[in-house]
C-alpha cells in the first residue's frame, strides 16, 4: 500500500513538476532528489505525530499508574474523546508563545542548540529498516551511523547550557556531558556484541541474521548486552531515573531552564524522538525487528502470515516505549555519583566480559544462533 502511494505521488505529482520546470540535463537528478524528499517526509511526519501522542500516552500511562485519569478535557469539535486533542492544543500553545532570549545569553548558540538536539534524533531514522525492503538509506555501516548520531545529541544539551548564561542550565549541561560520555561507551560495547553476533553492520542484515524463531532473536545470547543497551538508552535520553540533567527538584529544569515557547518544545520533541529511536533500535537489534514472533511455530506462523512485517516492528517498538514510561513512574532519581559508578564500574566491565563470551559462542558455532 505504501509502495503504491509512493508510486502515485512520484508518477503524478513529482514527474510532471520536474518535466515542466527543470532543464532536460538535470531532470533525473532532480527527480531522485524529490523522491528522496518525499521518502524523508514519509518518515519524519509519522515520527513527529508519534512524538506528539507519546507525550499524551506518557501523561495517561503515568496517570493510571498513580491512580489518576490524566488529560481528559481537550477533544475535537465538542467531543472530549479521552483528551486526544491535548497534544495538538499543547503544540499550538507552544508555537504561539514568545521565545524569551536572556539578555546576556549567547544569542546565536542559544538558538542553534535546540536545532542541534533535534536534528540527529531525526537524521538517525534514515537507516532504520521498517521492512525487508522499506529503508531510506541501506548503507553498510548503518549501526555505526546510528551510534555516531546518537552521540551527537549531547551537543544540543551542552550548548544550551552554556549559551543560557545561567548557573542551573550550566550545571545541567555539565552533568549531561559526563553522563552521556560514560553511557555511550557501554552502549557502544553492547552494539559491538550485536555486530559480532550478526557479522554485519547493516541493520537489515542484522535483523535477517535473527530469523528462525523467537528463540533465535539476539535477546537470548546477548541478554546482558540487551539489558545494558536499554538502560544506557534511558540514560542517554536523559530520562528518569537518569534525568539528573533536568533534575527539577535540584537544578530547576537543568539545561533548558531559560528556554520558552517553541525553543523549549524542540528540546522536548528531541527527547521523545530519541526515546522512540532507542525503542526501535532495541526492537531491531535484539528482538528480531520486523520478524514475526510466531516464526517457526507450525500453526500460528501460517495463521499470522498475512500480518505485515512493519506491524511487528511497531508493536515491539511500542512495548519498549511503554517501558520508558513505566520506568519514569516507578523509579526515583539516581544519585549522581551512583550513575557514574553504574556506567563506568558495572556496565563497561560486564559488556567486555560478554563480548568474550559471545565471540566464543560465534567461533564455536553454538546452535541455534550461530550454526
Amino acid at each position: 500500500m505504501l509502495e503504491t502511494l509512493f508510486h502515485l505521488i512520484s508518477q503524478y505529482i513529482l514527474l510532471p513538476l520536474t518535466l515542466l520546470i527543470i532543464p532536460v540535463n538535470y531532470q533525473t537528478e532532480v527527480m531522485i532528489f524529490l523522491q528522496t524528499a518525499v521518502k524523508i517526509l514519509a518518515i519524519v511526519i509519522p515520527v513527529l505525530i508519534t512524538v506528539a501522542y507519546f507525550t499524551y500516552a506518557e501523561r495517561k500511562v503515568i496517570g493510571f499508574i498513580q491512580g489518576r485519569i490524566g488529560p481528559n478535557r481537550v477533544g475535537f469539535f465538542g467531543f472530549r474523546l479521552w483528551g486526544l486533542g491535548q497534544p495538538i492544543a499543547d503544540a499550538v500553545k507552544l508555537i504561539v508563545k514568545e521565545i524569551v532570549i536572556p539578555l546576556n545569553a549567547n544569542r546565536s548558540l542559544f538558538i542553534i542548540a535546540p536545532i542541534l538536539s533535534l536534528a540527529p534524533a531525526l537524521a538517525a531514522w534514515a537507516v532504520i529498516p521498517f521492512d525487508d525492503t522499506k529503508v531510506l538509506a541501506d548503507i553498510n555501516a548503518g549501526l555505526l551511523y546510528v551510534l555516531a548520531l546518537t552521540s551527537l545529541a549531547v551537543y544540543g544539551v551542552i550548548i544550551a547550557g552554556w549559551a543560557s548564561n545561567s548557573k542551573y542550565a550550566f550545571l545541567g549541561a555539565m552533568r549531561s556531558a559526563a553522563q552521556i560520555v560514560a553511557y555511550e561507551i557501554a552502549m557502544g560495547f553492547a552494539l559491538v556484541g550485536v555486530l559480532i553476533a550478526a557479522g554485519s553492520l547493516n541493520l537489515g542484515e542484522i535483523v535477517n541474521a535473527q530469523s528462525g524463531s523467537a528463540i533465535h532473536w539476539f535477546w537470548l545470547p546477548l541478554l546482558p548486552l540487551f539489558v545494558i543497551y536499554f538502560i544506557s538508552g534511558v540514560a542517554e535520553t536523559n530520562r528518569a531515573p537518569f534525568d539528573v540533567a533536568e533534575g527539577e527538584s535540584e537544578i530547576v529544569a537543568g539545561f533548558h531552564v531559560e528556554y520558552s515557547g517553541m525553543a523549549f518544545s524542540v528540546f522536548f520533541m528531541a527527547e521523545y524522538a530519541n526515546m522512540i529511536l532507542i525503542a526501535v533500535l532495541s526492537a531491531l537489534l535484539f528482538f528480531g525487528g520486523w520478524l514475526s514472533p510466531f516464526q517457526g511455530v507450525t500453526f500460528l506462523e501460517d495463521f499470522f502470515s498475512w500480518v505485515p512485517g512493519m506491524f511487528w516492528l511497531l508493536a515491539k517498538t511500542s512495548v519498549f516505549m511503554f517501558l520508558f514510561l513505566w520506568f519514569r513512574a516507578t523509579f526515583p532519581r539516581y544519585r549522581y555519583d551512583q550513575i557514574m559508578r553504574l556506567g563506568w564500574k558495572v556496565f563497561i566491565p560486564i559488556t567486555i566480559v560478554w563480548l568474550i563470551v559471545i565471540s566464543v559462542l560465534v567461533v564455536a558455532n553454538i546452535p541455534p544462533w550461530f550454526s
Binding site: 551510534l147 552521540s151 549531547v154 551542552i158 552554556w162 555519583d337
Partner: protein
Amino acid sequence: MTQIIFYIFGAMLLLSATMVVVIKNPIHAALFLVLSFFSSAAVWLLLNAEFLAIALVLVYVGAVMVLFLFVVMMLDINLSTFKDGFARYFPLGIIIALLMVVAMGMIVGSDYFATDTYKQIDTSMTSSNTKLLGYAIYTDYLYQFEIAGAILLVAIIAAISLSMSKSKITKSTHPNEQVSVKKEDRLRVVKMKTEKKEE
C-alpha cells in the same frame, strides 16, 4: 551532484578551520573545530570511506570534543588578553606553520608513502569498506596496529595515575561502606522526659 556536495563541504571545512584559528571566543573556536571534523567526515564519505568517516564523527565529534568543550567551559578565560596577542605571535606562527609544511612534505613525499610500497587491498572479496579495513588492519598491518594500541594504553594508564593523586581535597564515597551500613551506625534513639509547657 557529487561535485556540488564536495564543494559545499570543502568550503565549509576550510571556512570552519580558518575560524578555529581566527575567532576570539574559545567556545566558538571549539564548536568550529567540531564543524570542521564534521565536514571532513562528509568529504571522506564522498570517497566511499564510510567507516573512517563515521568513526571520525563517533570518536572525535561524539567523545573527544565533548570532553574538550567540557574543559574549555569550566576554565575561566579572560577574553581581553587574547586581543593583542595575534600580531605578536604571528611571525612565530608563520615559522611553525612553515616547519610543519616542510615536515609533512618530507614524510608524505618520501619512499615510505609511495603507494606502490603498500600492498593493495583486494577489493574483489567484499564491497564493505569496513570489512576490507578490518582484514587489512588485522592481517597485513597487525604489528603497527598493536603498537599503536599499546601506546594508547600506556597513555590511558598514565593519565589515570596522574588524576589519582592522593590529595586531601578530593572527597569520595565508598559504596561498600554505604551498603554495609546498619541502623545502629546511623540512628541513636534517645529517651527523654517530656518537657513541661511554660505557662
